[in-house]
Structures are given as structure tokens and as C-alpha cells.
């Protein structure tokens, strides 16, 4: 099976005839792998104020989003069709609130010791945690936006370490 290389990148999920396929990882070696994804939720100042004002509210909203993100990481292969099921050693969800521009940044970190990377687990956990915040704040602001969900870091496997600090 051909894999993507620097010189000859290919879409590994598409076979020679252009059909979708799952990558065969039978001959890959398990290595320690980490992936970190981030995304940002931007809301109105009113919604942000409500979230911050009510007693305990921010804590419970963020914990609910964290739990949703952790569960989504574990269910990633059920959601993303060509992903492999894999045993996650760790899923962590952190939040960084910014009182100046009314945004919350979600960071999802996933780890495994397996044959494939955990980028999709991190990206999915980040997205579902962000959607949960949207859900819990949409009564105050339907126009909340999920912005710039992207992979920030990846290590392990043949391609080694990769970092995006944009």
C-alpha cells in the first residue's frame, strides 16, 4: 500500500480507482502517540456575561462540555467512517476563557499506544465539546460561532513530531 510521503503525497483513504477505503494497518507497529487539537467558540458579550455571572454556571457548562468531549473521543471510530477503533490511554479537555473578546478556546489531547494516530479522536473531542458549549449557551445567542478547529500537535508513528503554532 502506498502511503503519503513528502515527495509524493496521496489521499490514503482513496484507492487507485478513486473509491473510499480504510487504510490497512496490519503491518504497522504500535508506538506511543499523542495528538492535540484546538478550536475557539466566539459568543456575544451578553451570552458570555451570563455564562460568567450565574452562580456555578461556567463550571457546570465547561464540565458538561468536557464530559461530552471525552465520550466523543472514545466513540470517534463510530462517527468518522474510515477511522480505526483504538484503545485511548488518555483524553483531556481544557478550556481557556478570554474575557476580552468573549471567546473560549477548547484544547483536546489524546494519547494511545497503537498503530494509528489519534488526530481524529482529538479533533472530534474538540468539536463535540465546542458544540456542547454552543448548545448550552444558544438560548442567549444563536449566532455563536465555532472557529478555527485544527490540529496543533502530533507525535509518534513514522512521521514523528508535527506542530502548528499558527
Amino acid at each position: 500500500m502506498s502511503n503519503a510521503t513528502m515527495d509524493n503525497p496521496v489521499l490514503t483513504h482513496i484507492d487507485e480507482s478513486g473509491q473510499a477505503r480504510m487504510v490497512d494497518v496490519s503491518n504497522k507497529t504500535a508506538t506511543a502517540r499523542t495528538a492535540v487539537a484546538e478550536g475557539r467558540i466566539r459568543m456575544s458579550s451578553e451570552a458570555y456575561a451570563l455564562l460568567s455571572a450565574q452562580q456555578n454556571a461556567k463550571g457546570d457548562v465547561l464540565n458538561t462540555a468536557r464530559i461530552a468531549g471525552v465520550l466523543a473521543a472514545k466513540r470517534c471510530a463510530d462517527l468518522i467512517p474510515l477511522c480505526h477503533s483504538l484503545p485511548l490511554s488518555f483524553v483531556g479537555i481544557e478550556f481557556f476563557t478570554n474575557d476580552t473578546d468573549y471567546t473560549i478556546t477548547v484544547r483536546a489531547t489524546c494519547r494511545t499506544d497503537y498503530k494509528t494516530g489519534v488526530e481524529m479522536e482529538a479533533m472530534t473531542a474538540c468539536s463535540i465539546a465546542a458544540l456542547t458549549i454552543y448548545d448550552m449557551c444558544k438560548a442567549a445567542d444563536k449566532g455563536i460561532v465555532l472557529e478555527q478547529i485544527k490540529l496543533r500537535y502530533k507525535s509518534g508513528g513514522k512521521s514523528g513530531e508535527w506542530r502548528n503554532d499558527d
Copy 2:
């Protein structure tokens, strides 16, 4: 139960003591409801070219993403903790590719005839469809970004029609 109004918006998923809660819709009336969400996937020119060049590839990638989006809409209440399960009458996923800036816009439309809106179903379908495209193209570009996932349109229920053309 208090609901958000123009004059007195509240976070309906947070009770008086700041705890997360599901909204009680026992006394709400079922009405025809629609929600439309959109998001954009931005990739490198190289990844976009690969996607467009290979025989059938774009068709199969987009159909795979569509199927993932439809399945995710139906499973929304399983993923977003405080969402109500509801019977969807329709889920549609459309793609708009832009050869100039190497982006794909995903539009998800959901419909129901029920007591609650389908914003979360549309937002979740849109996000999972976009994540599926990320998954299938990440071998060629790990830096693909999911941008500006937001609600575009909503109708039905007490609050009536709402539109965001930003």
C-alpha cells in the same frame, strides 16, 4: 420554567443554582421546524488538487462525508448531553467547493415536527461531515482547518424565523 426572551435572556440549560439541566419540553407544542448550519474546510492547494485530480475521488470523499453527517444528525442526542432525542423528518448535506481559495463549504439542513428545535442536529451533522473530509484528506495536509461553523437559519417554534447571513 423560565425561557430566554429578548428582554431577559437566560441560559436555559442552567438552573437557578447554576447546575446543568435538560429543558423540560413536556408542555411545548410540536411544530414544523427547520435548521440550517454551515461550516468551511480550508486546505492547502496541494491537498485540494489531489482531491480534484484523482478519478472519482471527490465524489467518494464527499459522499462519505455526507453519510457521516446524516448518521451524526440522527445520533445527536447521544453526543450532546442535554439535547432531546427527536424524530428527524429530513437530513440533507450539501457541499460547495471553491477552486479559487481551496475551501469546501458544508451545509446541513435538518427538519422535524417536534417540540424542540433541530439546531444541534444541523450543527453536529455539519461538524462531523467536515471532520470526515479532514480525515480523508489529512494524509496530504495535516493543517486543514474547520472554519466558521455556525447556524444560518432556523424556523418553527415560538421564536419563529431567524436568519444569519453574515
Copy 3:
């Protein structure tokens, strides 16, 4: 939306451009609907004898298959991408064993009071129940065959009653 008619049958799950789509049932009326599907499992005389000989074995194998079939019917929309989620009023799984030709016929009956038919629920329940029997007997016969899984009966909806006694 165009629907299949006697004179002009179409593939309702394919739109004008040939793309997969979910049918929009927003404007359909809920009616009482039933569907019955059947399939047959053919095994070696040795496997069939084992199943019949061991104390209680047949009862527990068939009950396990029944439970698997009922659960699969309820999860049909999760498995068949373009199916609508719907509230099933009833799922029944019956077995007819034939000691002469070493076959077991599985019959699945599903009922709903909803806008779409329950053919897929019955077909899926029948298939998963049959696969469960395969699983539980495969140690004695890997060559077990699932034969002739088909819809037998359907009522309700615009097309009314349909029967296949082949």
C-alpha cells in the same frame, strides 16, 4: 419530491444528480404500519444435531438471537445510513426449525405508527438474529449459510398492503 409509482419507479434515495439522499417525510402522515421479513439459516446435520441435543441449548441460542434481533430493530437508523429514526410499537422475532433439512427460518415482525415504513427494521432484525445464530453455531460449522432474506409482508402508508409468498 418525486416518489416511486407503479408507472414511474425511481430510486427515492438518489437525487436528480445521482447523489445519495435521505427522503424528506415532513409532509407524510403517520399511519399504522407493519413489515414482516424472513430469512433462513442452513447448517450441517452435525451442527444442527448439537444444537438440538444439548440440554437447553436450542432455547438459549434462539433467545439470544431474538434479543439481538430486537435490539437491532431499535438501532436500525444507526446502521442503515438513510433510514429515519422512528418509534417502534412492536418487534417480534419467531423461529421455525426444520429437522429434515437442518434449517432455521427467522421471521421478524415490526410495527410503528409513523410516517415511514418499517421494512428496514424488519430486514435488519431478521439479519442480525440470523447472524447471532451463525455466531453461536460456527464452532461446529463454519460453512453455515444465510439464505433468502427478504420482505414477506408490508402494510400501511400510501402503497397499502404488499405480500410476497414466493
Copy 4:
């Protein structure tokens, strides 16, 4: 625990008192394992013609069925009660259309490096892919039949290679 042998086949999923049980694989060794299952969908000439005639239709129907099959393989242990969860290295779904007798043959190939075989994953993937084709073509022919779903090949584990070319 007794296992099936040539001389003394037993139903490994049934204990001494005839009760259903999961096989204990604690002491089994992980080996590379493959299983291939096949089944056939037979439809009317009219339905087959529609599938072939419409622009892109066949491609999207088969890709949708492929995605459903891959997802079902990953979820096999959720559907078949006594199956073990296992990490699949590969799931492949191929289709062979026969314009003469209006049939489509579905072939599902699964691979793992684990303690149990992947027959059930292949059989389940094949069945769900076939059911998805049924679903997408049933508007044109309710009488579509799923025929002869069976294991074709199996390798790995103590029993080694097994092949059924019937």
C-alpha cells in the same frame, strides 16, 4: 474450557448446562487473522436498470453501502451479543455487479491481530452493506432478496486456513 475439535465439535457459546456464554479468550495468543464473507443481492431487471442508468447513482449507492459495511464491522460486538470487541486493522468492502442476472455480490474482508477471529465482523459488514443496497433500491423493487451470505475464507488462530469455494 473445551474447544471444538475435528473429532469432538461442540457449541463453544453454550456451557455444560446449556446456557449461552461468551468464550473466555484470556489465554489465547494474538495472531494475524483474516476473514472474508460474501453475499448476493438479487433485484428485478427494472430496479437494476434504474441503478445503472441514473447519473452517478450506482457509485453513490455502492459507496453508501460500503461506508455502512465498514461502520457495522467496527460495531460488530455491539450487535452480536457474544462477540468480543477487537481492534480491526482493516475492513474492505467490494462489489461485483452482474448485468446479466441483475445481482450485486458484496465481499467483506476484515483483518485483526488479536486473540479471536473476525468472521463475525466480515459476516456483519457484508450483511449491513447488502441491507443498505436493499434500502436504497426498495422504492423500485420491494422484492429484492439477500442470498447466500456466507464465510468464504478464514486464516489465523489455531485452526489455520479455511476456504469455502462453493
Copy 5:
């Protein structure tokens, strides 16, 4: 179909031949229904003290358990084989901590407007919320006990109101 009455109670999930079956609710009428279940978690004074001492800990443990309970209620028909899927209007999980005997009482309330009761949804939500507390506290006390999980209240349907204040 025979139903349980005061004078002639039967096991409605068992048919005349003693086989498990799903109850057919095709002819039942939808009514507003509520069910309340309660259970108690008893832990060592040390574990209870840790839970209470650490900053925020109790809040996050209980919110995590609440989210798990709400999700479990929505997934009840997936877990309890002969339960009907139904649209829940409300799921609420409350906790009552008792500093004297180191117990936490979990109360789950479910509501629907449907043809069957929501006892199982309330019982399942209560159990999974309690298990989540066990999970999060087991590092400090493996001997935590779940005690007296039972239905407390039920209304709606033919049998009307029922209350258990034992």
C-alpha cells in the same frame, strides 16, 4: 394481548410459551407520564471526606454523574432489551448528600408523552449516575455500595398514579 391487572398479574414480557417478548403498544394511547427512581451510594468516611474536601471536587463529580445519567436515560432502549424507544421530554438527576452516614442519594425523574411508561428510563438513569460516582471515588474506596435502587413514583397510563414511600 393480556395485561397485568390487580386480580390477574402476569409477566407481560413473557408469552404463553414462556418466551421473552416485547409488549405490542400499537393500540395504546399516548399520555403524559412521569417516573421517579431513587438509589443510594454508601462510601467510607474517608472517601466521603475526600470528595467533600477537595476544591470543586464534589461539584464536578456530581455533574459528571448527572450527565452520565441523562445520557443513559436517552439510551435506555439500547441497554434494556425489551424496552421501547421513546422521546423523553425531560430527564432530571438530583443528588442529596448526607454528611452523617456518608451516603449520596440519587433521584432520577423522567417524563414523556408516549404510549409506555418511563420507569426503566428513570431506573437506568439512576443506576448509571450512581455507577459514575462509584467510578470516580473507587480509588479511595473500592467497597462503595449501591443500595436500594427502586421506583418511587409513577404517573400516567392506564394504571394511574403509584407511589412508594418506604
Copy 6:
């Protein structure tokens, strides 16, 4: 990461700031692990008599509960938010009926060869099996109680063997 020790027990699922977290098992070693959980279902003499009297009824009720328990064990990480997904080598569910006090004791045994214990899998399997018995007997006795669900035995991992014979 700090772990619970005899001298310094902590809540491993809560971080320094009191937030819920998944334990990172990246550096743990896989060992053979077993966990046994038990619980008791207490019903009225009338319900117990019905269960025992009807032909086959007890067998099918208990087998249905067993299947529900096995499936729940495999789905534990989906239900208990901070649990790790892991490959179970074995799930066994046993029942002990007591004709004198009208109780059924459920014992669930789980095994894995992995980095974390299987207590939650055993506790969850036991609870869902018990809830299934409740569901199938509730028509005859709504007041059935689930009593004393607790861990009985645990082996493997750093903490070694643990037993609770209370």
C-alpha cells in the same frame, strides 16, 4: 500523576483544581485482570412465583438479562464517562435464585489483559442485568428493589488481589 495509596488516598478522577479528568494510563503495563461484582434483586412473593411458574419463563428472563449484561460490559466506556475502552477477554453473568426470600443474586465476572482494571465493566454488567430482570417482572411488581450492588473481587494491576466477603 499521583495514584491512590494506602497512606495517601486520592480521587484519581479529580485533578488538583477539582476538575473531572480521565486517568492517563500511557505508562501502565498490561496485566491479567479480573473483577467480580454482585447485586441482588428482591421482589414480591407473587412476582417470584409467576417467574417460577410459567413454562420456560425463568430461563428466558435470566438469559435475556445475561445478554443485556454482557452487552453492557462491552459498552461500559460509552456509559461511564471517565472509563477507558478496553478489550474484554471474558464476560460472565451468573444468577442465584433464592426461593425462600424471593431474591435473585446477579454475579458478573469480567476479565481483560490490559492497563486498567475491569471493576466498572463488572459493576455495569451486574446493574444492567438486574435492571433487565426488573423490566421483565415489573408488570407483576413495580416495587422490586435492586440491593447491595458491590465489588466482590478484583485481581491484577499494582494493587493486586482484593476481596470483599461482607
